[in-house]
């Protein structure tokens, strides 16, 4: 399933003082790849734009919160 959330796996050493965090997540929203926004992109209707937090669907970036299994 396409998601803007990516994961990486930090190195876990044998002498780590705290319990290891095996999965770390980070977001890759569309503006990282968009560069200069082209004119005339399709837009959300105003009320939905307010809900989604952006006027342009191309730039919409949902945030589902930390992955459950990524908690240490």
């Amino acid at each position: 399933m396409f998601t803007q959330q990516k994961v990486y796996h930090p190195y876990v050493g044998p002498f780590d003082p705290c319990p290891p965090v095996r999965i770390k997540t980070y977001q890759t929203p569309p503006q990282l790849y968009l560069g200069f926004q082209p004119p005339g992109l399709p837009q959300f209707p105003p009320r939905e734009a307010l809900r989604r937090g952006t006027l342009w669907p191309a730039l919409f970036s949902p945030y589902e919160g930390r992955r459950r299994d990524s908690a240490p």
């Binding site: 926004q37 005339g40 105003p46 307010l50 006027l55």
Partner: protein
């Protein structure tokens, strides 16, 4: 006196908030795309629309801001409750 606020107080306020959000988005977009005429027309249309909604709101519920542009009110009522955070 604790007057409860009618329903369309919220609807008008939400409409105003929605239009404000669109205006902010277009504002930021136009900052980097000053030559985009379509967006500029859209911005003007929405700001006109906002003026209408603000006028409708203020005619019924009093001024939104104490800038005196509220309108014909004869009483000093901008600080009359309910305040936005009480609503």
């Amino acid at each position: 006196m604790n007057t409860s606020v009618p329903r369309d107080y919220y609807q008008l306020l939400e409409e105003l908030q929605t239009i404000d959000f669109v205006l902010v988005e277009l504002n930021l977009y136009l900052d980097t795309h000053p030559e985009d005429v379509h967006a500029l027309q859209q911005y003007r249309a929405w700001s006109e629309r906002r003026r209408e909604v603000k006028a409708r709101f203020e005619s019924r519920f009093g001024p939104l801001q104490p800038d005196g542009a509220g309108g014909p009110g004869l009483t000093w009522d901008w600080n009359r409750s309910p305040w936005p955070w009480q609503v």
